[in-house]
Amino acid sequence: MILGKVKKGIFAVQILLLLMFPLLLTGCWNNRDLVDINIATGIGLDRTEEGKLLLTIQIVEPAAIQSTASGKGKGGGAQPEPVFTQCFEGETVFEAVRGMLSIVDKKVFFSAAQVLILGERLLQDGIEEVLDFFQRDHEMDYQMRILAAKDVTPREILEIKNDIDPIPAVYIKETVDNTVARGTVKKTMLIDLIKDIEDRGKQPAIGQISKEGEEKVRTEGTAVIKDGKLAGWLDPYETRGYLFAIGELRSAIVSVPADKGKVAMEIMKAKGKTKVEFENNQPSMLSIKVSVEANVGGYEGTGRLDSPDNLYMLEEKLKEEIKKEIIMALEKTQKEYSSDIFGFGTYVRKFHPQYWKNAEKEWDSIFSNLPAQIQVDAKIERTGIIINPVASGD
């Protein structure tokens, strides 16, 4: 009986020990109250003129947010600011992050960061090494939006204050997401950027942000990166062509000249595929296939849409328009920047690994000199509630 009890006791202890082991596996188990951290909403990274790293962090003051949200105390005396922005210089990102603690009172918490804004000087200097910290740290949100600041420092962007949203970083993030729906900015999340950097067959492209007046930002365009350094920028239309080609376009409004006016086509669905044609084991041509489904969103003119011919014609014009944008983007990246942001190299690596082994080093120059074949399919699904424009001439 006693032996049985002892055995049972040993068994219980074993089970307890077994349960305790996972304790060692968890990375963070320190008890830290939510009020004992500084919640960072936006991060800015740039280089100073001396080549030091300049970290800008936008920190939110939750209590102030609540009082502005509920409208309490508006117009009352000294209202605390909902956010404050703090800069710190350091040799490395981590040093700057920890160094920040000599200025702010609580540990900075990065998981809620909405945007990471990279300054132009940093982009020109190279981004790959500074991103290491963002992958290594366990608190980073891999879904935070990455933006490249054009003609403005990250600090200036993060210090923007307006009435649209009490937290500027949230305002920026929402704006980016809106623009993504228009197809004129590339939505780059941290995880995408990291993936693109690791993928030797594809150069990263980052959404662009610039200042619009004193209080607003504009998120349009794309920064083209080549080997971790900024190669140049794509304007909104080129960006759209680029997104059409790589199949990342969700929706867009394309203006098409039609007889007696202009038609605004709303792209409902778009598929894009990039490929490299090979001849005699040598790449002979870049091939881009895009197929879109569109609706007529507006017809500012006096043409008619009530016969299939009209629609066919419109489809042809839409194809041309899209093709034009793709060519614009492709030519710029080929000729000017010589940077394969389309990921043709990834295709080659996958389907022609033998060739890729040798060509990997000089792929960008091979890419720049390949001719391109662009094929666009367009289909008009609906014309909205009415068929002909209101002012259609008979």
Partner: protein, 529 residues
Amino acid sequence: MAEKTRKRGKEENQNSNNRSTHTDLYGPIPKTTEAVKEKLGEIFSQCSDFIQREILCGKNGKTRMLLAYFNGFVDKMILNQDVISPILDFFSNNETDEVSPVYMRLKDCIVVNSEIKEVDDMGQAVDGIISGEALLFIDGEEKALVIGVKAPQGRHVDEPDTETSIRGSREGFVENLLINIILIRKRIKNPNLKMEMMTLGKQTKTDICICYIKGIANEEIVDEVRRRLKKINTDAILDTGIIEQYITDNRLSLFPLVGNSEKCDKLAGKLLEGRVAIICDGTPYILTVPYLFIESIQTTDDYYDNAFFATFMRIIRLLALMISNLLPGMYVALVCFHHTVIPFKLMITLAASRQGIPFSPFVEAILMIIAFEFLREAGVRMPRPIGQALSIVGAIVLGEASVSAGVSSNLMVIIVAITATCSFMVPPLIRATMLLRFVFLAAANFMGFFGIALVAVVVLTHLCSLRSFGIPYMAPFSPLTSSDLKDSLIVVPIWAMVTRPRMLRQENTGGFKNSKRMEVKTSRDSRKS
């Protein structure tokens, strides 16, 4: 403690028949009523409610009789009608000098009472008197008649306070054992509904009744109930709650392994499923065994209502059970450890509501939960008329005032309120939940979600290891009994519920044998220690 258990083991044999001890104590019935009167006066000295009435009748009061009873315990009207006046009538009309025929006649044709019994020793006579019957002693006889003239005691059949339902019977059990038996018989008109009476408690001599339906209830479970009840050796059985503690399988578990109910229709349903009920005189709460975990989220309304709705309610109840256990712990884990999983906007709200609170979330949660328990317990204990004052105070403590005073965040107030509300949705598990909540809270404060998962594993393991009268507590989930799932989280319509719970019917399967082995072991243990 050890001494007590040893004593219990020794007395086990005698205990099976409590009445026999009295025989030794009081001996036979004396022949003369004089002697009887003297002896009874001695036994019931200082009992001012004890009444002995001498009846002198026959020629010159030659035939002497003694009527002994407790005042108020017997119905005097019936006593007069059934006993005293027939005797007086008889002797005024018939003159008999022989004694023996008088006794026979008394028993067979004079006393008009349906419940009449002959006893031949003093112990049984005393038992009769103390259980509210009238004793008739006749001069010259060593026998006495026990006449059932017990006055109906206690309150009327009423709606139970603890178990209310929207539909269904409003009849609840009362304190009177016989009325309770009738309430069950009224619902199950079947000769197979068996009622086995026994007496427990050395001082209280409480009537206990084991109730089951022969042919539906598992005989082995009925045997087990008899065995466990017979083993009880205690002075007082004042409520079924005391029986429950003696017969439960695991005396140290937080979870109830014996069910209780005040509702007649619920009990009838349990009996028809094959459960065994234990009725105790003096309490409206009737025990049912075996009691499974799933029963705590079953209500009678589930069977009277639309099955889809019933299923939804079962799921809601289970959800409420989990919330009432886990919510404060989850909150502490989120706020203290796992900031990364909180959505951004919620995080701002959380951080803002916690701003300026002087306590850590753990301390804050403990304070608020204890404050709530104060209020709850005060609400149970205090006299009813003061209730209003308490609710006002309660609203202040657990409300806006504590938030604006800055001792608690408004989110914590909501959490405590939801936790409390949810715990009331599953009444049988309130006690277990109340204590487990603190364990989860402490684990969350120590190790976050990992701690909660750890405690949850321990609790679930414990639940799965429990058995109630041989039936696995977590049935039909563990072990999975697919045929019993029809009345678990999913409730199928009543016309589709064609089979009785298989778990309760099982005979000669491993489950029950295990429990028997366990039972034998515990009894041996208690004797040894």
